[in-house]
Amino acid sequence: MTNATTSGAPMVHADRVSKSFGSNEVLKSISLSVPQGEVMCLVGPSGSGKSTFLRCINHLENVDAGRLSVDGVLVGYEERGDKLYELKPREAARQRRDIGMVFQRFNLFPHMTALENIIEAPIRVNRVKKDAAMAKGRELLAQVGLAEKEDAYPAHLSGGQQQRVAIARALAMEPKLMLFDEPTSALDPELVGEVLDVMKGLAESGMTMIVVTHEMGFAREVADQLVFMDGGVVVESGDPDEVLGNPQHERTRAFLSKVL
């Protein structure tokens, strides 16, 4: 599953990244680093900029300041000489292909079956042959425990099943990095476990992952690094057991007392 890349270099590296919407500064000089093959959990209160940060990583948003790179390549810009050039849409799309994203509200394509959802991008974007894409798609459905559901439309799947299809859809592009934006927040409590299990399996297989979540149990068990964000800044980060067990900042404590 893991792509052999330049070892040592972090998969995601953010160096004083800032982002504003109008006068609202949503990300304030964020610096962090996710090594290849590791899992980072990003936690924090609503509105603290977690989603925006994920969206910057796959260039659904532009960063205003600082440097953000994935696998050693600058996101959204090209550096030539001492100037930065904005990427053409086609080049930006090429960068996104290698980054899988899973959304809170699944965002499966409702007019396509589970299997069609999965093979759409490999066929259209990566020009994979249909047969090969379908074989791979079935394999992925089996991996997320939904081999039986390839012909089901999203409306006929439970939330947990939809989210697992969404994960399979992202994996079909063979990404080197997976971003999860509150993947279980829209699920009924009894369906959370099945999605987290799939994510655990993925982490064990060596996938580099950034997971925005309120599931502290998952963070403690799976994350190599836990980052607490509030008001657009990284308040605290480190080993999950450390941060959760012995938070150093008042804001972290206040937040954790609400979610734990």
Binding site: R90, R96, F103, F106, N107, F109, H111, V125, D151, P154
Partner: protein, 337 residues
């Protein structure tokens, strides 16, 4: 359910034979509506009177109606009416999609031009527009190909290049495209933004996202009002006499009536044909609306008995059209023109 029943059987004393304790059905005297009946009788009587009178009235010229209803010139004219409808709707839909996409563009100039187009074509009567198209060859007597303000390479007589029929098609299509643009725009806006985002995040281009993800979902919103537009267009074709193009139903029956000095039966002939076509289209429209008002997406009932099939779908991810972020334009509720 089963649990409730077994609870009941624990106290068998009050249970009736079918297992449910039922009250006696109400046998009340039905409330009478005397005025309703009176009004109905009056209305029916008036209608019958009118029909009897109409069937005997000279001026309707039923003999001529019978003579011309299946006249070959009339059925050919009906063919022209259908051609005008089909060609102008096809062009209007293509142009309408283009204009809708232009209106949703980030480029203010592109957006502005689309807005200007809609402003002009929705802000003037279609009849007046058609008269203008009729004068097209007068306004632009030649069409020149070349570099502006230099001697043209090629020069065509406009009247040789575009027939009156095509002027009629263009006139109808350009007017209609302004309305189609609003319908398509409402359809595109009805698709959840998350769909766009998911497609983009998968590396799909704007064009792929539009054609594979957004438009297929927008269709559910776009198709029913488009059916209405077709019906409306069929009737609007009668205005192309303004061009003047007169080989379609209304123009043709007018021309015949001038020759035989009997306008009324031919108006009835034309009306009968219009009614036939609109009735067929309305039946089609009925089924279209039934088809497209169904539940969510293009979901089909899944084969029963698979896995934990009973898990609820109430986490409802798929947005319904009503959730459109910008639903200021109601495609069906447009003003009359």
């Amino acid at each position: 359910m089963a649990a409730a029943r077994s609870d009941r059987s624990a106290t068998p004393a009050q249970v009736s034979p079918n297992g449910v304790d039922q009250a006696e059905a109400i046998k009340a005297i039905r409330l009478r509506h005397p005025w309703r009946n009176v009004i109905a009788v009056i209305l029916v009587a008036m209608l019958v009177l009118f029909l009897v009178d109409a069937s005997q009235r000279e001026a309707y010229g039923w003999a001529n109606f019978g003579k011309y209803i299946f006249d070959q010139r009339i059925s050919q004219a009906a063919g022209y009416t259908l051609l005008l409808t089909v060609y102008s709707m096809v062009i209007a839909i293509i142009l309408g999609v283009t204009l809708a996409v232009m209106r949703l563009s980030d480029n203010p100039v592109v957006k502005g031009i689309a807005w200007l187009y809609l402003w002009v074509f929705r802000g003037t009567p279609v009849y007046v527009q058609l008269v203008f198209w009729g004068l097209f060859a007068t306004i632009y007597s030649t069409i020149d190909v070349g570099i502006p303000f230099t001697e043209p390479w090629l020069s065509f007589e406009t009247s040789d290049l575009i027939s009156v029929f095509w002027l009629a098609v263009i006139g109808l299509a350009l007017n209609e495209s302004a309305y189609m643009a609003e319908i398509v725009r409402a359809g595109i806006l009805s698709v959840d933004k998350g769909q766009d985002e998911a497609a983009t995040a998968l590396g799909m281009s704007w064009m792929q996202t539009m054609t594979r993800v957004v438009i297929p979902q927008a269709m559910r919103i776009i198709i029913p009002p488009t059916g209405n537009e077709v019906i409306s267009m069929l009737k609007t074709t009668s205005l192309v006499t303004a061009i003047p193009f007169s080989l379609e139903l209304y123009g043709r029956s007018r021309d015949i009536s001038v020759v035989i000095f009997d306008p009324i039966p031919l108006l009835l002939v034309a009306s009968a044909w219009y009614l036939l076509f609109t009735s067929i289209l309305m039946v089609g429209q009925y089924f279209l609306e039934k088809r497209f008002s169904r539940g969510v997406g293009q979901a089909r009932p899944e084969k029963a008995g698979t896995e934990t099939g009973a898990i609820s779908v109430k986490t409802g991810v798929i947005t319904t059209p009503g959730e459109a972020s910008d639903s200021s334009t109601d495609p069906s509720g447009k003003e009359h023109r």
